[in-house]
Symmetry: D2
Subunit: 230 residues, 4 copies
């Protein structure tokens, strides 16, 4: 903290009686509950829409597709609850397929519509509570074909309660294939590290969903606190 109650306890002055505290954070932008901007991942030196990878530079940040270009998302949210479907938390490396997503949707009696924000519950975050130092080498998540199914429904955003949406380890000879398909090919931002517990408790599978990123100039992502309005 740059100023706090300890300062006053130690004798700091309080002109007009006023006391205050303030602090500063150092924060990587692609951890915690965050959104990956469309400039976060690409291949063949081309970002989504064909912008050049060289538009992302140390000195200037992302001049294209930065998180500051991303409008707030206000849309229907849809929860696909794989934990409820399987009756247990998914395990590291466990694949969620197109068929799994369809079953989860059916189990809730819902149909994906264009513009939906799809939130996927794998149980990964819940499982971490019992783990002292989480591995970032494996997690349950969707495979490339499941990602394609979501993209085919023209969803606005895909989120999950894990750290990379897609399953880890990746399928053979691929690296972050879900990132490549959804972010780079389809321009669909990813929300990672979602805390879904309150939403799950509510029993609701559709809801109004609001997520708005910090407009950090040229950044590759932003921490945020999405809201499901029930």
């Amino acid at each position: 903290m740059g100023r706090d109650g300890g300062d006053y306890a130690a004798g700091a002055k309080r002109p007009g009686g006023f006391q205050f505290a303030e602090d500063t954070v150092v924060m990587p932008l692609n951890i915690g509950t965050h959104v990956d901007a469309l400039c976060h991942a690409w291949y063949d030196d081309r970002l989504y829409s064909g912008y050049l990878g060289s538009t992302l530079r140390s000195a200037t940040g992302a001049s294209r597709l930065g998180v500051d270009k991303m409008p707030p998302v206000v849309t229907r949210g849809v929860l696909l609850d794989l934990v409820r479907l399987r009756g247990r938390l998914l395990t590291d490396g466990e694949v969620i397929t197109r068929s799994d997503l369809m079953k989860a949707a059916n189990a809730s009696g819902l149909h994906l519509e264009p513009g939906d924000a799809v939130l996927i519950r794998t149980g990964w975050l819940e499982a971490q509570k019992k783990v002292s130092s989480p591995s970032l080498n494996s997690e349950p998540g969707i495979d490339l074909d499941a990602a394609q199914w979501l993209a085919d429904h023209d969803v606005a955003l895909v989120g999950a309660d894990n750290f990379a949406v897609g399953v880890l380890p990746f399928a053979d000879s691929t690296v972050f294939p879900v990132h490549q398909r959804l972010i780079r090919d389809c321009g669909i931002p990813l929300l990672e590290g979602l805390r879904l517990d309150q939403l799950v408790e509510s029993g609701r599978h559709t809801f109004m969903f609001v997520a708005s990123a910090l407009p950090i100039a040229g950044a590759t992502g932003s921490p945020l606190s999405p809201v499901a309005i029930l």
Copy 2:
């Protein structure tokens, strides 16, 4: 940036074709568009609700009333547009009184209700576009009596397009009296640095308002991107 397009231009490997960028920010928590948590300001060594000022320490942050304790705000938003009322941007040091707020409400045909999020347009942020280095010693804003009027209506939150909600310079022998009254006495968080231009363009004076802070443990505030849903 910790990795960017320049790295690849300089020859970085791309296993499986995957390329990505990520960055980190260093960010004070009470600047930009942000919310002041209830632990941000106090007097007589007592925070809102009577918690001790000594609950805010360097080593631990705020153990009471930190921004991580602040739930998302989803409520009716109300715009009190002083710029429209006066037909010009307000000037530094210009006081907004209880009567001014009442007139602005009347001009829009609206009545404050308990739980409203009240957003006040002073024009300060718009005026800064023409200023090379903004002074943080003066700004237009509400006085203590106007703040009391808002508190009497039991509003949930007060925001403004300036940097401290209250007018600067302060009335004689007071220091941040609006902070002391609203945050410390009444437990009403303040939103500062609001960008109201799109809302003003819409012509709307009431709307659904969603604001959710980052749950930074023990922090005195949080940058955020509030949304007016029209």
Copy 3:
């Protein structure tokens, strides 16, 4: 980095042909090879010389005994090589006593003199090369009586190749007793995390020693790169 070769590879301009790179660090001040300033440790709310602990505040740093007040050290350096004495790296928790220090001095045929900078080799840093995640709960180091022996010789500075100079775990019912005695009682700064390998290779046990801290205003310590001139 804030600018680097990747920027140019990605197409950044180079006016007048000039290209450059620059970067920024975020760095705790009491880790790595560093000196602990006299404001780093104390007890009974009193620092060395009787200054109040409340002179160290979040908003202002240390107004007394900060590392910015510490002049460069240019003096005779003395290596007390416990590894050579025992014929092996010392183990975690292994105590170095007054008698051990005396034997190490005798083995090198040297006598401590007022103003010496005493460097103690425990082998801890060398041992860490084989350790994946070092424990900061135990290390070989001097006990309180050995520290007193050094203070009795009126040395200018005590350094070691471990992270806290004193042995960990501490003797029963004490916490950092060596810090309390040397820094707080005697005003002797501590150098921690020394890399002694080149000095040891030289076979020299006395040398000219130069150590100068960064003058960071009000800081509790500073990273530095001390030099033994042989």
Copy 4:
């Protein structure tokens, strides 16, 4: 600060009586009193020794010529005091030529020798004390020909009490020509922001000079506190 006297004033526990304070800095590496590593400046995509500019990347820092590769400097220091020569502080944009350096050396009866560390006093830093916000667009300093003269003497290091060693503004159609010549062509590191007042007071023009950078992995420079031993 991450812990300070205010914490204890506010009631923090002190096991075994021990109290301590510690803090963290965020610090650009090429400001203040600092050394520019040989990877800091280059042209034609080639660093000193012919290494590629693309060896400097966001994700990895400088894999060649980083400040961590720079050994401590222990050599004869030589002060060339242009302020004494002219009888006044030099002014912004004032050029120091080869002839000026020769006169300053002659005035002190000294000859440059290979391996010398040459420190140039322009008076810029002294002049800043009276300036509220220093301009970084102009300063007194050496021109390219003076830099060449220093390089011809095979000096080990060139330092100055200004922020860029070379004069600003640059000669027509050049950008940091002194950086390009000394760092890139000749492999001579630059020391900037030197505080020479104590040295000047001593009246000495030659001395033992010790400067050692922090071994920050892959960094383009380092803050340091050089010492003149008189």
